[in-house]
Symmetry: C3
Subunit: 270 residues, 3 copies
């Protein structure tokens, strides 16, 4: 049987051997594992950043892929280590909500606490569960012959920590939401999905003055010579972007910042 | 048949799941692909930086390797997605010149527009062609049994966008060129290839005063206690370096900055 | 035979194609090699940072793994390129001490100079031995059928450059050591191993005033609302950390900074 792919998403960055050590542990247990870095540049302790990374990424991997997601400020406390079987994938990580958006997107799912010592290293530190629990658990899952074998990992968890996805709110003049993610190019990814019937006319970010827009642009480059434009980004959400520059810097926005988009009809546009 | 290696060069950086998603798409289509990151630290939208990265890197990979190069500010516009077969390699990327230096270095080459929908994902966004067109195209190419099968990808392009490599100019007192690349250590890579017969005596970067040098140094460490020195870098071009420090910071240079190197004979040296 | 894993640790960073080119060379020679990045974020020319990365990482890889470690400010000078066979692993890198802590941790070891041209590329530059000597040497080692074949690589080196690991010193009031590594989260990793019998009561970093601590904390999160706390980090050494913040920034510490930890008994605590 072809062993499944294992993806890694962490806030461990690229200046320490942490991620490499995780791969060592996985290869030690399953020499044939195919390991893929999904994102290690999640900001330190940014659980929502990790949640959004895996939400937008997991669906492009083959069914049966095991996604290890470790943004874990509570390592060594009582927060539970969990493994999750969703409709098409497996997820492994801390029970702090980092998995909840992906779980919702690939429901139904069963959550189990990783409690079986066979799924851990012999020695478990209190500071590096990615190495001592999550990586060996992922490696063991990748060696499973039958799908049901995974139940040995530990008891079912019926009350996993869930971070509700921030849903946008329809208002009289349009829709309000927030910046859920900012990418390397400074594009502000909102939690607002495009509505084909809407005529978007303006956008506000935080307390900055409203900026007029002319509907959804098809490409980032359409923004050349303009202020901010709206684009449907690769994650399927509306992004606020600025051609050739960082929209983040242009408007000084942060994740969580309030966004308002005004729609059609005239009067309510800025 | 051993499946070919696929390399990835982008300006996507290391803080987002973009590159990981590309790998998911490739593995989804070809579970046996061997994927290698060549460089994802190209500065955002720096087409020349991408062109130089792949120019210096491609030749060290096995023949038949497929090189995916995506620095693509024009994604979603009319710029064409292309695949290129050169003497020994394949290249996939936007038709914006990012491939042109590698193409010239591994001529002859045939360029085709990626137009066959079988080489794309079912849904193609206007903002992430690396995921929706370039990665699946590379994966499909990696599954080709016979070399000629690749022609199905789309029609030949006879007028690909070419960025001419900036050639240095011989002057009365030496040679003038420019900084084509600056590496992590702050070494200034020029477009000037070493001439064994030349006696290099001085160097100027931009408008800074000339600095005396004593020919080509053999190692970076020879510069200890000196101002700038000249070294033949790993790309085969002359580099301007400063031992134990960043030459970039020492002289405040940028890519594209003019460089003058004076040669032998006495009078013309600074 | 399953080909061994090859790990890569360098100070090459993530903005240039250097690491990708190393992988090209390795795959060119051994298409079945499994290559793992251990850490490329070692600070430029920081030999001790590289030494600590490989010290904490190597043991989690399968026996027989070949660890390539290149932090090499002396490339092109007379410093020797070496390969080392330890009790369970192989190491390849410059003879500048970067391997010495891992060597001590997996003794006994035999060091050989890489002198056989069959273990190098045909053309060897003076500026990129990672590509021209270390990568091909690692690839050749990974193709060895019998363990003893590696002796062909070159003559034994009896006087390798050794950087002594900085051992802490027991004092009247506790123990003094130094910061040997600072990770992405700003945790200060010391050279002090925890003593189960000690009651740690205070800590000083550099010339900063002493801070009272209450023994070893079990998790980073225990430090919430406190000043610095002490934690046994994943490397087995005591770390000085600050919950939710960078201890590095909080105390302005650098690698090499002196650390004092006071122990039990009352009077000597700050």
């Amino acid at each position: 049987m072809t062993p499944p792919v294992i993806t890694l998403t962490t806030d461990f960055g690229y200046t320490d051997p942490f991620v490499g050590v995780m791969k060592g542990v996985i290869l030690y247990l399953n020499r044939d594992a195919v390991i893929v870095d999904l994102n290690h540049g999640v900001a330190p302790h940014d659980v929502r950043g990790g949640a959004f990374s895996i939400l937008t990424g997991f669906r492009f991997f083959p069914a049966g892929t095991i996604h290890l997601v470790v943004v874990d400020p509570g390592v060594g406390t009582t927060r539970r280590p969990v493994a999750v079987k969703t409709a098409n994938h497996f997820f492994v990580g801390p029970d702090n909500g980092v998995l909840s958006w992906a779980m919702a997107a690939d429901a139904p799912c069963v959550v189990r606490e990783i409690r079986n010592k066979d799924f851990m290293l012999d020695e478990v530190s209190s500071t590096f569960h990615a190495r001592d629990i999550f990586s060996p658990a992922a490696a063991r899952l990748s060696l499973m012959g039958k799908a049901d074998d995974w139940e040995a990992i530990g008891p079912e968890v019926t009350d996993p920590v869930i971070i509700p996805f921030p849903e946008p709110v329809v208002t009289e003049s349009g829709i309000t939401g927030e910046v859920v993610y900012i990418d390397r190019f400074g594009n502000l990814v909102t939690n607002i999905r495009p509505n084909e019937d809407a005529e978007y006319t303006g956008v506000t970010v935080g307390d900055a003055p409203a900026i007029r827009v002319n509907g959804l642009s098809r490409s980032y480059e359409e923004g050349v010579g303009k202020d901010l434009i709206l684009v449907v980004g690769s994650s399927g959400f509306i992004e606020i972007t600025k051609a050739g520059r960082s929209a983040k810097e242009a408007v000084g926005a942060k994740t969580g910042e309030k966004v308002g988009i005004t729609c059609g009809g005239g009067g309510q546009a800025p």
